[in-house]
Amino acid sequence: MSEMAAHTPHSHPPGFAHQFETIEQQREAGTLGMWVFLVTEILFFGGMFTSYIIYRALHLQSFIEGSHDLFVKFGATNTAVLICSSLTMAMAIRSAQTGKSKRTIIGYLLVTMLLGATFLFLKLRFEWYADWKEGLIPGVSWIPSAAHTPGVKMFMCFYFFMTGLHALHMVVGLGILTVLVIMTARNRFSSQYYQPLEISGLYWHFVDIVWIFLFPLLYLIGGRYPGS
């Protein structure tokens, strides 16, 4: 125990972990760690995007057909919902950073969660549920249709894989936000220590970015103009 005493003459700020020398070092490590994690996420989704690009090139007509079975209005609405949630997330972090009251921070976090839940609700209720009833989910509820070229099934595979993976990330994000609300309520954060908020925000924005790409890539293939 005597070794431990040797390097802890100073008092520990809240949230300071023993393996670091300074709180600044800890902050940098945490942010860097999150960014490295997001790079792994880029490549995780990247495997799907690569497959998507290749199959889209091979089956362009079918992908256009399949894309026209999706509802642009829900896709666009959900994009807007996620952008709003990114704004409120950024504001939650800013509130912590500038030392606003914990009610303000919790308020922003709850609005973010509400918007995230809205996204999932719209997706489940008006898109996936409708697809399920119409038999458009390959492997789960698939009704072969004479109007479809065979590649449509491939498109729907990618649609459900990519949006499903994205939705899974949203659910994880909602879990993280719940933890943050509890931590904020317990006064864990201050203008000097709010890093969990900051790096969770990075994750939330990343999930938003994935959707920013999924929306045009899935809903708008080949355009929606008459005769497309």
Binding site: M1, S2, E3, M4, A6, H7, A17, H18, Q19, F20, E21, Q25, E28, A29, L32, G33, V36, F37, V39, T40, E41, L43, F44, F45, G46, G47, M48, T50, S51, I54, Y55, L58, H59, S62, P138, G139, V140, P150, G151, K153, M154, C157, F161
Partner: protein, 554 residues
């Protein structure tokens, strides 16, 4: 065996409290956040997996003693080689050096108290164990017969074996690799002690950094690929099914995007260990530090652009084949740089043949053979003849067993005094190193010949004219197996009965040798300050040959 008879090499300097005796009990191990203890947890886990995979290998070699197959039905043989490949690659070689020696040494070498995220570190071990459990469930409940590569449509549509269990196991273990890599990248960037600049880092750290980059950038892709495969197998949606317009080769692209760099996950840490061993036992500064350091990074980058050489004969476009062939030759350059620099380091060093050095020298020779035969396979035309034969098997075993496992054993021996505070029996260690070297070559050199003669891999039977070489290979495998069992026995023995080690039994350079053996829980009594380059061994006196006639010696 009484401790009184043990010959003490050094006066014992037993530090009062170290990481091993700071706390006792099973809970103190299972809930530890200490990177050194987590390293040992990994060591135990992967040693178990190594012997599971090794058993499968020994059984395979026994089976191949007779041309008709001596032991199993062909289906069982298929499961044997698949189990061997999957366990050895994903559950032994990938985590071998990074998760054990890397975990143990990175904070010690850079002068930190722990890795940046100790809880994440422990979590990654639990994730790894969960992955192991899925794989072991697959083994026990009947195995898998797809080979370690899981190529569809066989794995997705036809195989009746436990593909999902193994795919899930690899998927889960992959997240352990990702978290380990993430932890190491952040640790190396942010936790270096004062004065430990990038170009004062030991080369082991550079190679671990390059390995971590591959972990972080490659592993997510294998995860999503195996998730797609599992979905295809469960739901039959047709992603890899040509009948619906899917492309089985796409699986191969995504698979090898990770799995080729994964080869370098296995060998790069080995190269890092060898740089440490060569300098310590030649008592010389490494020749061309920056070249060796940057060649690690170059390997990490180039490893990602060569994967198509696994697909020359699977139906890939010939134009892509040309590109991948050229790029594959490029990756030989940084590997060769390392070998040349090790040779130059040995030149005029004062070399001592301790057991770790025997492994290191073995590594250099075997890795060179494995690397050069890789060039045969990177050539489009020769690959048509050699692809899918025992030549490929021999080639990658020279890299993975002759390279990675030799380096792993060398590293375990070199740092054993630091890890346990005990010395291993030197005599037995040298014997074991020699046995491993002989057994390895006897096992795999005949396979080069078999492959060149055209014997395909993964077959349970073979024409009788190949029997002599196959029996040689099987005999070698049993010698190799004994070579691996001997260290297991004496290393475990030494934990209790070995002579107590001093802080720096090899008189080696590096921060890990400046602290006690075994180190205290937080590694250093005080955070060290570095003011010299790595491997700053005293420069040897130039030799004089006053009586030599005429020619000046260089």
């Amino acid at each position: 065996m009484s401790t009184a008879t043990v010959d003490l090499r050094e006066a014992p300097i037993e530090s009062s409290v170290n990481y091993l005796n700071a706390r006792y009990g099973i809970k103190s191990w299972l809930l530890t956040l200490d990177h050194k203890r987590i390293g040992l947890l990994y060591l135990g886990t992967i040693t178990f997996m190594f012997f599971v995979g090794g058993t499968a290998a020994v059984l395979m070699r026994l089976h191949l003693i007779e041309p008709q197959g001596a032991l199993f039905e062909p289906e069982t043989y298929n499961k044997m080689f698949s189990t061997h490949g999957i366990i050895m690659v994903f559950f032994f070689l990938v985590p071998s050096i990074p998760a054990t020696l890397g975990n143990f040494l990175i904070p010690l070498m850079i002068g930190a108290r722990d890795v940046a995220f100790p809880k994440l570190n422990l979590m990654s071990w639990y994730i790894f164990v969960t992955g192991c459990c899925f794989a072991m469930y697959g083994v026990i409940s009947g195995g898998v017969d797809t080979g370690w590569t899981f190529y569809p449509p066989y794995s997705s549509a036809y195989s009746q074996t436990h593909v999902i269990a193994f795919a899930l196991g690899i998927f889960i273990a992959g997240f352990s690799s990702i978290l380990t890599g993430l932890n190491f990248v952040v640790t190396i960037h942010k936790m270096r002690c004062p004065g430990m600049t990038w170009f004062r880092l030991p080369l082991f750290i550079w190679s671990m950094y390059a390995t971590s980059l591959i972990f972080v950038l490659g592993t997510p892709v294998i995860a999503i690929t195996l998730a797609l495969l599992a979905a295809e197998r469960l739901l039959h949606v047709g992603i890899f099914d040509p009948a619906v317009g899917g492309d089985p080769l796409l699986f191969q692209h995504l698979f090898w995007f990770y799995s080729h760099p994964a080869v370098y996950i296995m060998i790069l840490p080995g190269m890092g260990v060898i740089s440490e061993l060569i300098t310590a036992f030649s008592r010389k500064k490494i020749f061309g530090y920056t070249f060796v350091a940057f060649s690690s990074l170059a390997i990490a980058v180039i490893s990602f652009i060569v994967w198509g050489h696994h697909m020359f004969v699977t139906g890939q476009s010939i134009y892509a084949g040309l590109v991948f062939s050229v790029l594959s030759f490029v990756v030989a350059i940084p590997s060769a740089i390392k070998v040349f620099n090790w040779m130059a380091t040995l030149y005029r060093g004062s070399i001592s043949y301790e057991a770790p050095m025997l492994y290191a020298l073995g590594f250099i020779g075997l890795f060179t053979i494995g690397g050069l035969t890789g060039l045969f396979l990177a050539s489009l035309a020769t690959d048509v003849h050699l692809n899918g034969t025992y030549f490929v098997v021999a080639h990658f075993h020279y890299i993975m067993v002759g390279g990675a496992v030799m380096a792993y054993l060398g590293g375990i021996h070199f740092w054993w005094p630091k890890i346990t505070g005990r010395l291993y029996p030197d005599y037995w260690a040298r014997i074991a190193a020699a046995i491993v070297f002989i057994g390895f070559n006897l096992t795999f050199f005949p396979q080069f010949m078999l492959g060149y003669l055209g014997m395909p891999r993964r077959y349970a039977m073979y024409p009788s004219e190949f029997q002599v070489l196959n029996v040689m290979s099987s005999a070698g495998a049993s010698i190799l197996g004994i070579g691996y069992l001997i260290p297991l026995v004496y290393l475990i023995w030494s934990m209790r009965y070995g002579p107590v080690a001093s802080a720096n039994p090899w008189k080696a350079k590096g921060l890990e040798w400046t602290t006690a053996s075994p180190p205290p829980t937080e590694n250093f009594a005080e955070i060290p300050v570095v003011n010299e380059d790595a491997y700053n061994y005293p420069v040897a006196e130039p030799r004089h040959y006053p009586d030599a006639p005429g020619v000046a010696r260089v």
